[in-house]
């Protein structure tokens, strides 16, 4: 039996390695999902599976302040994504499509925040806010400002690479085929760049939702979801955190699968139309 398995592995070395890597990547998600069904009320050791229960899923907002922190994180995430995606996309267009003085400098300056350690950026932001007299108002808005700032760089870089790969002859061809500047943008440029913008927006949201260091330094008394988890980790993370984690994972999965299904259906629908 063991030799049979050994032979199979020998034959399918690439596949075996692939499975191992995937396991390595996804085991944490399985653990989180599993722990979301853990009944930890009787136990002192929160990191061990005791017994199965639906309680965590039925009362996700039980731990005090958790759902409030989640609401704050989602609000900040959505707002930061919206603003950063708009500004970043416009900046990417300017950087790729227009020749202007200081263009290469602008490219570098926009890239720089990505390379700056978060702890440095966070503390400078805190210093800035305090110096600007906002020391007393640290909270939702200062966190939002900080998040928009670091998301912009990522949006610019993502959209820029998509835009740079776009053949500028396509826009010329559109204009040659009687499309004015406006129509050329909405019929050709935007649909072709949109996947890049969408990817940038998803990236921005997950960066914002995820951020701890900068947020912690600029949030004052406001508590975001990562800060809540960090804070509760001192005493033991409530099992409901796993519920939220599992939900987030499932949502990401749904977005990816949904996108794939939609694009396949579109391709098939067009073939059927003929």
């Amino acid at each position: 039996m063991i030799s049979r398995i050994g032979r199979w592995i020998g034959k399918h070395l690439m596949l075996t390695l692939g499975i191992l890597v995937l396991l390595y990547m996804y085991i944490p998600n399985f653990i989180v999902a599993l722990m979301s069904f853990n009944d930890a009320s009787q136990s002192r050791n929160l990191y061990q599976f005791q017994s199965f229960t639906w309680d965590n899923w039925l009362n996700p907002c039980d731990p005090q302040g958790m759902c409030e922190s989640l609401r704050v994180s989602i609000s900040i995430g959505l707002l930061a994504t919206l603003v950063a995606t708009i500004i970043g996309t416009l900046a990417a267009f300017a950087l790729v499509r227009h020749r202007f003085e200081g263009r290469s400098t602008a490219n570098l300056v926009i890239f720089l925040p990505m390379a700056t350690p978060e702890i440095v950026m966070g503390s400078s932001l805190l210093a800035l806010f305090v110096a600007a007299g906002m020391g007393g108002q640290l909270g939702f808005w200062t966190v939002l400002i900080a998040h928009i700032m670091f998301c912009i760089s990522f949006v610019v870089v993502t959209v820029r690479s998509r835009l740079a790969g776009l053949d500028s002859n396509l826009e010329k061809a559109a204009m040659d085929l009687y499309a004015n500047e406006w129509q050329t943008f909405w019929k050709i440029t935007f649909p072709l760049v949109f996947p890049g913008i969408l990817a940038a927006a998803l990236l921005a949201f997950s960066l914002s939702f995820d951020d701890f260091i900068i947020t912690n330094l600029t949030s004052g008394t406001t508590v975001t979801f990562p800060m809540f988890v960090w804070g509760s980790a001192q005493r033991g993370v409530p099992m409901q955190v796993n519920v939220i984690g599992t939900l987030m994972f499932l949502m990401a999965l749904a977005i990816v699968v949904g996108g794939e299904v939609a694009s396949r259906r579109r391709a098939r629908g067009k073939a059927a139309k003929l």
């Binding site: 396509l170 010329k172 061809a173 559109a174 040659d176 085929l177 009687y178 499309a179 649909p191 067009k270």
Partner: protein, 382 residues
Amino acid sequence: MSLADGARGDLRMAGLHKRYPNGFVAVESLDLVIPQGSFFALLGPSGCGKTTTLRMVAGLEDATKGTIHIGDQDITHARPYKRPVNTVFQNYALFPHLTIAENVEFGPKRRGVKDPKQEVKDILALTELTEQAAKKPAQLSGGQQQRVALARALINRPEVLLLDEPLGALDLKLRRAMQVELKRIQEEVGLTFVHVTHDQEEAMTMADTVAVMNAGVIEQLGSPYELYTNPRTTFVANFLGRSNLIKGTVLGREGSGADEVVKVDMFGTVVSINASRVHTDSKEGWIGIRPEKVLIQPEGTAIDAPGDHFSGAVVVSSSYIGVSTEYVLRMPWGQELMCFEQNTGRRGGLLQVGATVDVSWRPDFAFLLDSSQDAEAGLEEE
């Protein structure tokens, strides 16, 4: 000019000049009339300004000086989408996110045609793409993509269709087939085609009129026959086909009218060249003769052509290519000449390397070019 000149839909460029911001002058000063309904080729090596000219007509480049008219309409500075002109791009520039049918109906929809379904169907049939209508460009072969680019432009029935090296990306066999196809379509739709290419064979097979461009100016314009048999410059003589160019000294003129000839001394032999084929006023000149017009025979045997006669040439190399044989001959004065001979079997067997041969050509085939021009101009670097 007005309609009365019969210039209804002719494409006219006058004093057209393009200078890029970095100082490079792509088009010097172009005067060109392309008659409506003709198949016109702009032929030249890369960087000669032919594509820039095309893009100025399409509105993708702005002319520095000069004017462009189609009929009475001045389109020199019109936006690209305001011109009755469509382009087939070199790499086709098909919209990757749209199907073939959507690509093709893009133009009509922008022009406000409500339901272009029938037109789309017709043009797809004309270009043999009916089966591909629902596919995306990436699913098509190179030749099919090329036809989509053509259909997408043709459906708009432009006054002028611009083709920018449209067959450049295809392999040789497909290119030949598409040359015939393009010519057929042009005759069927009767639109003005302006075709930019660096391939002389392509230009000659398809176009009614060819303009040979070099370094921003048109060297010569005419029918393929005219350009080939009577080139005016060494560039045209070398770029269109191949030529032997031999140094000669002009002795004087004889005769008059159509029979007027110019006598030229060529290394001791006096040759006569018809005055209509003489393109220099100076004392010196390049005598040009096409390699297939050069006849050879083993020393001492008769050459069945009355004409300029030389002896003492030696075969330096020969390459047999089935339908014909290409010889390189060393002339008594040391220069090497090319000679292409049809393998008619007339002589029975090939001439051996080292053989001494007599050489002859008919004086009516020779032409005389200005000696100040570079004899190597227009030769393709390989």
